[in-house]
Amino acid sequence: MASLICIKSKSLSIVASNIFAIIASTLSLISSVFSLINQHSYTLDYLVGFPFGKLELTIDPLSAFFVFMISLLVIPVSIYSIGYLKSEYLEKNIGLLCTLYHLFILSMLFVVLSGNGFQFLIFWELMTLISFAFVIFDIKSTESKNAGFIYLLMTHIGSAFLLLSFLIFGKYTGSFSFSSFHEASNLMPVSLKTVLFLCVLFGFGTKAGIVPLHIWLPQAHPAAPSHISALMSGVMIKTGIYGILRFVFDFLSPFPSWWGVFVVFIGITTAVLGIIFASSEIDIKRILAYSSIENIGVILLSVGASMIFYSFDQTVLATIALVASLFHSLNHSLFKGLLFTCAGSIVSRTHTRNIEKLGGLIKFMPKTAFLFLIGSLAICAFPLFNGFISEWLTFQTLLTLYELKPGFIKLIAPVVASLLGFTSAICAAVFVKTFSGIFLGIPRTHQVHHVKEVSYSMNLGSGILTLLCFLIGVIPFMLFPLLKNAASFIVGLDSSSNGNLQNLLTVNSRFILLGNNNFASISPLAILIVLIAGFFFIYSFSKIYGSKLPVRKEETWSCGVTPKAEFQHTPTGFSQPLKVIFSELHTPESFYHNYIYLPIVNGLISFSHKIKPLQSGVLQIYLLYIFLALILSLAWIKL
């Protein structure tokens, strides 16, 4: 699907390879849209010389949706990277970077298209390895080394879980084909399914970055080049979501309702903790990485809600919840792509990721500032932008959980929903901090004074994403057929209840309506009109009735002293109150290192040191080992 050609000549190769990427992803975009609309599933087989090694590519609405998502992000990111690579990596190994870039996209596409567990695993690991290569691309820095190691190890642990679950599936079905996995669920006892579910959840959750398996994410994303971070954060971690959806709904159904509750619980934990971690960060890319963790939590919330509905046979509601999660995945990929590309622009101009060293960039990079502002608004889920629509849907699905019978679910539904509100409030705080730290105020260091706006293609790439964020926020109905097809496919909604779905979820150009009893409704276009009307009303009012004098520019008042950059609140200071009030929740990242991972690692190391004397170097003792092994084995016979 994506062509892989890299030309050796540097700047030409950037343009050429990215144009290839654009063309290829446009093609895959179109094909995925077609397959989503037609709801076709078809499989392509290629025989390879292994017993399980049939190359099966299956495209069904779910994978088509993810292909759609990947391609949609790849196009602007490729445009962006034309300029980005030229400005940043010209003296480095461009050819390698471009090849890896293509391979990365290809592996992501193949992951979601795989119709075979074995092959899925291979591409899954390939995707990890290639992104790992990006993480360590800056081979001289210690930071990227550590990030790379943690990334590699964590994802490998995740893959081990996956491997185990695939093998258990393989045992029950006698094949690694997904189509046979699909039929396996009836054969398995519930307890085994639960084990599988947990394996899958932890396996994919590591990739998706659920707390506490997220530790690789805030390290790996900053270390990679920015256009790659955009892809990693935007779509790569979503393949984890894809895996969870694919397994839970396709292979493990039916399942008990507590699975869903568990996922909701994990989702809200991830969302809250992820964003609280972000609040104290001052590295722009780490902030974005943590915010990705939060958004994964939000996505998992509606996935969990959908699972709960599904286990109560509320297929229609399950579909709606899934629509919410898929929609939020898509939206997150767009605005996170936007934010990462903007961050890349900033870093490429100022050569620092520390927002405490920036400030006042809005005067030097107005376009980037505008794009970043829109991205921030979208990620905080403010109305008019895409994040709002999907988060709104997530809210609604959580609230509809109240319709179910068990009191426990009734109880958690509003609480979880309000906690979701809490995360988005903190998110707003975080992005106010980030945006104002980078772009507003007086420049904090000299390096900011001479920066210039980034190249045209970089802004074009981010601009497309901005436009998409806005358009989806205002006219989301365009996307709903795609979302609905993908979601209803995976939930197994038959066409007879499709009408039911229409009743429950009405989406048209004017509004989105949920529930038959006017449960909730929203009208993005109307909001836009109202806001514009309000804006112009007050604007014209102040123009007509207000003073006609021009705005006078004076120095900022600072008790009579010339204002200096040091007078301002630093981003750290900005988030200090948050840090104080959430000091209980604010388990810093090191908490996981100190209490979960380090004990294991240190235990292993100290065990290793303790066991070292066994290899004492004394020949006689070695002979004793052999002898003991012999005696014990002989004793084994008698057992």
């Binding site: 010389g49 695993l121 291979i122 001289k140 190890l153 258990i168 290899q615 020949l619 084995s633």
Partner: protein
């Protein structure tokens, strides 16, 4: 015609051994050796082809017996031999240039190398278990000189331990063989054929199970010492780390697999005699122990070659687990793993050898950020390290996958999960060390060392490193039909011992 081929195969090491004595130029010696080995490899391919078309062949009054299993091993021995010979050209030339050794020592090296290869070829082709024993012992004696090649303190120590431990181990194996032979004579088997593998297989069901159990334990411990299964592995890190790099590759790549081969041959007979469970569980236990111990030792390892040696221990453990899981899938995986491990481990030893030549140290504390100094070797070290640790898309992952799936298929839940856990630990350790070595800032202390060395990798060095790399990458995604057939046939031979 077959006889000619196998005779030729035997005689190549001999011929090579003599021919390397003649020339004076060190390069020509190396090239000569390499071309002989390439020739033997081609010959081995023909032999394998014959084996595949005939099923099995026995000749010389039944003293040589070739089936798919031995075909696989011949393939492996000659392949690794070839790669090692190619690598030796650049490595040894460099050593001579750095006055670490002289031309006569070089000739001695090649002579011993050939003796070593010969003994291994003998090991995998003979029919009689007794001769197999002799051949394995011969390989110990031949390789001991190679291990202690540098004649300094550490290599001598390593060689001494190697020779003593392996000989003691092998002595135990002798007891096992005696017991087996006794079992044969006891049931009135033909004395002259009593140790022939093909004969043993036919009468295995008649043999006294208790006796065979005892015999198998002795064989397992004996050949297990040679194979380097924990806790009999103690010689392995010493020998691997002190031997010249090409020899380490040969030791790790094929020698320890010859031990496994011995165990495997005997396990087939034992299984036919006493049933499936006994031998497999024992092998599985030792396999898991090996992986676990290697993981623990890898974590805090400081010497790169010892690290690789422990990784060999791990892989031997993996192979043993594959055999122990006793499932066609797992055994296929184990046999495939032999090939993969031989490739990757040679690759890794070569790379580490290059680093050692450049940095004059094997201490990983000083080997940091090597990718900046040696881009090719560093990159290969990283990729190879990942492959070694079992990352897809390299073939090691595939074989481990097969082994694990075999384990799960056979309901070895605890063992499979332990297997996975240990592999994770090993993965963590290996990836940590390899990342430390390749990525990141350079260690300041070594700067002066680097500038003083004029080591530059020659073409043959690159070829010898690229060859295994390409092979494992290709095998990771596509397996050629003959190899598949060979592995399948070999699997059938091994599973023949599994009771129905």
């Amino acid at each position: 015609m077959d006889i000619n081929k196998i005779l030729l195969l035997y005689s190549i090491p001999a011929l090579a051994g003599f021919s390397v004595l003649l020339p004076k130029n060190k390069k020509i010696i190396g090239l000569l050796q390499a071309s002989w080995m390439v020739f033997s490899f081609i010959l081995a391919l023909f032999i394998v082809k014959d084996i595949l078309s005939f099923g099995f062949m026995s000749m010389f009054n039944n003293s040589i017996y070739l089936d798919a299993l031995s075909g696989l091993m011949i393939f492996l021995v000659t392949l690794v031999g070839t790669i090692v010979s190619i690598y030796s050209i650049s490595y040894m030339t460099n050593e001579v240039e750095e006055k670490i050794q002289n031309i006569w020592k070089l000739k001695g090296y090649y002579l011993l190398l050939n003796a070593f290869v010969f003994s291994m070829l003998l090991t995998v082709t003979v029919n009689s278990m007794g001769v197999l024993w002799i051949a394995i012992e011969l390989s110990t004696l031949a390789s001991a000189f190679l291990v202690g090649y540098y004649n300094r303190e550490a290599p001598v120590e390593a060689a001494w331990k190697y020779i003593i431990l392996c000989t003691v181990g092998i002595a135990f194996a002798m007891i096992g063989i005696i017991l087996a032979y006794y079992a044969v004579t006891h049931v009135g088997g033909m004395k002259s054929l009593g140790l022939n593998w093909d004969y043993l297989v036919t009468i295995a069901h008649k043999l006294d199970p208790d006796l065979m159990k005892v015999a198998f334990v002795f064989i397992l411990i004996g050949f297990g010492t040679k194979a380097g299964l924990a806790p009999m592995h103690s010689w392995l890190p010493d020998a691997h780390s002190e031997a010249p790099t090409p020899v380490s590759a040969l030791l790790s790549g094929v020698l320890i697999k010859c031990g496994i081969y011995g165990i495997l041959r005997f396990a087939i007979i034992t299984n036919l005699s006493v049933g499936n469970d006994f031998s497999n569980k024992l092998i599985l236990f030792f396999g898991l122990l090996s992986i676990g111990i290697s993981g623990i030792f890898i974590i805090t390892q400081k010497n790169i070659k010892r690290l690789l040696a422990y990784s060999s221990l791990e892989h031997i453990g993996i192979i043993a687990c594959g055999i122990g899981f006793a499932n066609p899938l797992a055994i296929f995986g184990a046999l495939f793993h032999m090939v993969n491990h031989a490739m990757v481990k040679s690759l890794m030893f070569f790379t580490s050898g290059n680093l050692a030549l450049k940095f004059h140290t094997k201490d990983m504390e000083h080997l940091k950020g090597t990718i900046q100094v040696m881009p090719v070797s560093g990159t290969i070290l990283l990729i190879g390290g990942l492959a070694l640790a079992g990352s897809p898309p390299f073939s090691i992952f595939i074989s481990e996958f097969y082994i694990l799936s075999g384990g799960i298929e056979g309901n070895y839940w605890v063992a499979s999960i332990l297997f996975l856990l240990f592999l994770l630990i090993v993965f963590g350790g290996l990836s940590y060390h390899f990342l430390q070595m390749t990525i990141g800032p350079l260690n300041n202390n070594v700067d002066s060392n680097i500038s003083s060395t004029k080591y530059k990798m020659s073409k043959s060095g690159v070829v010898s490193m690229l060859l295994p790399l390409v092979l494992i990458s290709i095998l990771g995604i596509w397996m050629p039909a003959p190899l598949l057939k060979l592995l399948n046939e070999a699997t059938k031979i091994v599973t023949r011992g599994h009771m129905i």
